[in-house]
Amino acid sequence: MRGRSILCAFGLITPLLAQAQAPQKKDSLAKADSAARADSIALVHELEKELGKPAGDSGAAAQTPPHASGGYMNIGFVSLTDAGWSTEPDIGSLERGDHDPQVRGFTIPNTELALDGAVDPYFKGFSNIVFKLDKNGETGVELEEAFVLTTSLPANLQLKAGQFFTEFGRQNPQHPHSWAFVDQPLVLNRMFGPDGLRSQGLRVSWLAPTPFYTEALLSIVNSAGGATSSFRSEESPEIHGGRATERAVRGLQDMLIVPRLATSFDLTETQTLLLGASAAFGPNNSGSSARTRIYGVDGYWKWKPAAAQQGFPFISMQGEALLRRYDAAERVSADVPTVTLPNETLKDRGAYAQVLWGIKPRIVAGLRGDWARGDDASFDSELRADRFRVSPNFTWYPTEFSKFRVQYNYDDRKEIGSDHSLWFQFEFLLGAHASHKF
């Protein structure tokens, strides 16, 4: 095969050498052109041989080669194991995320089966099914995401429908395997709960026709469910301390509305900045007309030299700041039925900032600072107490398909004191290549 190709190439050389010299004679450009045309017949024959089909058939559509990992669907499997120790025996009080390490010793907090593919010419489908072991070693299964995404709506619009992580801020929509730290940032945990803000509904997004990237997104999703903790989730009494009010969905005012605006600039050849502002408006279940408003800003900056080896070195900075106004209605205490808690607005805020330094190929050092606080209220919730955390970590990626991480957490909880934790994390990926979103 190799011999044959070489022969083909040589077969063309002689006539073409003559042709290549022809244009140098300035007076015979036209002649050269016709010579080129004559030679083109030979070329077309050569191409026919290379392509293995007649040159007349111009190939109506590019044939996309089938993806290797299987038929009509890409399958990916990501498994995460955590191991470690903390000075706090009740790890659950420190690490409140669903995919954070939950016990001293070993945990498998997140194993994802990710499926995706084109549904038809109009939709792409995604699904993420999560298996996890709880602190007793019992397996839990959750349908984390299942949605379709339109591929060809006019006017730069795009719809997403199904169950999905709401596009609020930067980290909320990311799956645990793309987090840069072992655990969820404190502020996201407080505002969105153990599993992030995730619900069923519709999201529309519009890519603005500006010279730089600007995208406006609006999600309209259910305000009740397991992962809408600041809204009508069954877990929200942990925030307001009252007995949850049953309230039916009467109209749009009972849905959770999440707008977001994001913009990005390439500052230089090697630096990119992404800025976003998000909000979430919806009812909560402390009373029949109580509402919650959350506002957030986020930023991400990355530097990577023009000739990076496998994407290294790099420096990135990411931060988010959130503010919550939780209108708690007058409500009966969940713990003591004789106590009535007054009508009040609970104000919470928090932020995290993280820096990652990709020192050399596949080695990343990270540092994150977490801060969260809530104002005084008639009900004390651990989920609203002042807290500060610093987490340096170190990650080694043997390849893109596996990683080892070690992280130390210094935790400082008001009125509880400080704790020290050390976590190890190992992750592997099978199947479809994980794509690196910016």
Partner: protein, 305 residues
């Protein structure tokens, strides 16, 4: 008042992008080598942009939001295919919401289609490294493969923009003629080094070596995408000495220091051999780049004879 100014600016920006839209066919290529081919075939009537920088590793490009904007406005997208861009192109395409460049659309060109791929693995097994299941994707370093890609580009441009079909066809004929003439020159330049033994960092010169009768005896990466280990490098040095391999080819995004260390111990030289036009001064086109590669390699091999 400030808001007013922003709104006005935004409107001007919208108007500007709108008006330029009608004028020229916007072709986006994932890498500069594909962009160069698009310029050859499209001529100055098309507007060509490359997503990856010339010095950037095409396997590890950051999927930046600015790429989404570029893809959103593209009439044609040329990708290398064979999973070269698998790590970063899919999320961009998802966000680009552009049916003109969707898989199977006329505006989507997969360069690897129709190319005789080398090193297609017989089994999917990542213990062999990050092997591309559709074959080695670095085929543009072979000018004969490039002719196949050029023809595909010409066909698609003609379909997307039938008014200029004749021009794209003519450019293809001219391009092929030039490639063949240049091939003769390149073959002649490298003829004295027939079966010369070379070492590369990654498996990215397989097609080049095949075309120009060179023999790759080792790669510094023990397996594709896997970092060189000291034990593997010791083996490479041994092989290089035994086989009399005197050059190591590296691209700008590969670890030159590792290559230098091996070269020093094996009595070899490291050659900068970027496969992307524009990675070195005066290598802006595919032809300039190939000239550079052939000349650099010939000089390197001659110097070591």
């Amino acid at each position: 008042m400030n808001l007013h100014r922003i709104a006005t600016l935004a409107l001007i920006a919208i108007a500007a992008t709108g008006s330029s839209a009608a004028a020229q066919l916007r072709v986006v290529a994932t890498t500069p080598d594909l962009a160069s081919l698009a310029r050859e075939i499209g001529g100055n009537v098309v507007n060509v942009t490359a997503l990856a920088k010339p010095t950037e590793d095409p396997h590890y490009v950051d999927a930046k939001p600015s790429h989404i904007v570029t893809l959103n406005r593209a009439d044609v997208l040329i990708e290398g295919g064979a999973e070269l861009e698998l790590g970063w192109l899919p999320p961009l395409l998802e966000s680009s919401r552009n049916a003109r460049i969707a898989a199977g659309a006329r505006g989507r060109i997969v360069a690897s289609t129709g190319v005789r791929m080398l090193e297609i693995p017989t089994s999917f097994d990542r213990s062999k490294g990050d092997v591309h299941s559709l074959g080695n994707p670095h085929f543009l370093a072979d000018p004969v493969s490039v002719k196949i890609v050029a023809r595909r580009i010409s066909d698609h441009l003609a379909q997307v923009d039938p008014r200029l079909a004749a021009s794209y066809k003519a450019n293809l004929v001219r391009f092929n003629a030039r490639i063949d003439a240049k091939m003769a020159e390149w073959q002649r330049q490298l003829a004295p080094f027939r079966n010369a033994k070379i070492v590369t960092y990654h498996k990215d010169f397989v097609y080049f070596a095949n075309r120009f009768n060179l023999e790759i005896v080792e790669t510094l990466e023990p397996k594709p995408g896997i970092a060189p280990s000291p034990a593997h490098l010791a083996k490479v040095i041994g092989t290089m000495k035994a086989e009399n391999a005197r050059v190591i080819l590296v691209q700008p995004y590969q670890n030159r220091r590792t290559a230098e260390t091996v070269a020093r111990q094996a009595g070899a030289v490291v050659l900068d051999m970027p496969q992307q036009p524009g990675a070195r001064p005066n290598t802006g086109t595919y032809f300039d780049m190939m000239d550079y590669l052939v000349t650099t390699l010939a000089a390197g091999l001659r110097g070591q004879k």
